[in-house]
Point group: C2
């Protein structure tokens, strides 16, 4: 079996259709032909192993020989993060978090958030690419930008909710307790304001730290994701 995992658009579990960039990569770049073995995922937990049955102009049909299902993770991590001014930093964070393991990412508009617009299409492309590269089958949900206030209004009372902000009194995220659904909120480059922190605490967020070093926003997102995944493995 070759090492590439493609993304498929549709599948009835007997055949799968691979189009767009993955089609071009498979046929034009890698030059696979009829009957060559390939594998693909729909990003919804389905992993198909099979071979190329038909090559059309803009898509290929794969005959499914094996179908494996990856269920959603039992302990889910939702990272809520204020995007950095420099887009490449937030894109790198998305790539790293998807590789390491994250279930949902939401972009947060706070008082000090410098970037107010996120191109979700571009972000989804990066997430797909990291998913395929790390051979995973469940694409994280990526939400549009939301204001801190609206996000806090919608946050479920049942979730474990942590806020990363340096505070001498706060405990380390490593010692946090986790439930089925968990939110870790990361502030902007200029940090949360005192009002924002107070508001988040009122709605059930607990303040945690990642250690003594002052980390950049995107680094805090990656380290939080890494800690969550080593604890909930």
């Amino acid at each position: 079996m070759n090492k590439f995992l493609f993304c498929c658009n549709e599948s009835d579990h007997k055949t799968a259709i691979i189009g767009d960039e993955d089609f071009r990569h498979c046929i034009k770049v890698l030059r696979y032909g009829l009957n060559d073995p390939i594998q693909c995922t729909d990003g919804r937990g389905n992993h198909y192993v099979g071979s190329i049955a038909e090559i059309r102009k803009k898509e290929l049909i794969m005959e499914v020989q094996e179908h494996h299902v990856t269920p959603p993770r039992k302990t889910q991590l939702h990272i809520v993060i204020a995007p950095t001014k420099n887009m490449s930093r937030i894109e790198m964070m998305i790539e790293k978090c998807v590789e390491i393991g994250v279930d949902k990412i939401t972009f947060l508009n706070t008082k000090n958030t410098e970037r107010k617009v996120i191109k979700i299409d571009r972000v989804m492309k990066i997430a797909w690419s990291a998913l395929k590269q790390s051979h995973q089958y469940v694409l994280p949900e990526i939400g549009e930008m939301v204001s801190l206030k609206n996000f806090l209004l919608d946050a479920s009372a049942n979730d474990k909710k942590y806020l990363l902000h340096y505070d001498e009194q706060a405990g380390h995220l490593l010692d946090a307790s986790w439930s089925e659904n968990n939110i870790v909120m990361v502030g902007p480059e200029g940090d949360f304001t005192m009002e924002e922190i107070a508001l988040a605490k009122e709605t059930g967020f607990e303040n945690k730290i990642l250690g003594d070093n002052k980390l950049r926003t995107e680094t805090a997102g990656i380290v939080a994701c890494s800690i969550f995944n080593v604890i909930n493995r």
Copy 2:
């Protein structure tokens, strides 16, 4: 006190000299003037707080009012990593590891290492920038590229030595035991060869994993660094 930490070239602990880019940043960009409060570090554990006493053409003299010393960490992490083909990935890894906490980085030439040359000057610049940004005072040592064989020959018998390579039998790095000096070795994008793994094991390296997900080289470096620092905090 303003938030910027500058790099100083020399200091007798009474005055410190800030030159080059940091001088330009301080005087030309931030437009600080005589008597303005500033702080700097020599990257060798010294943190100076004081004010601008003299502005010359290409450097400034700072009068030291406070001198704090950060000793080397008691539990040291040496990351030994094969550089990625894409230089920006390894640069990002260096930035993140310095922020999170690392004491030494060495670049490794293995059979599958695609990048055989590293510009140490450029790498040092990134490390300095991350050090200042995260307000730390001990610059990690960054070594020239070395072949795996030579590195193994020189590795001390007293160090704890771990090798990251996916193996069903291997335990998680989170459960590793650490001593004063610790080495974590990360392979290239095409992984270590079986011979290389055997050779490393012969010289005392123990195989560890970072979980089930297949991580890119630079992500493995960051996650290993993050795990080391949460355990040895």
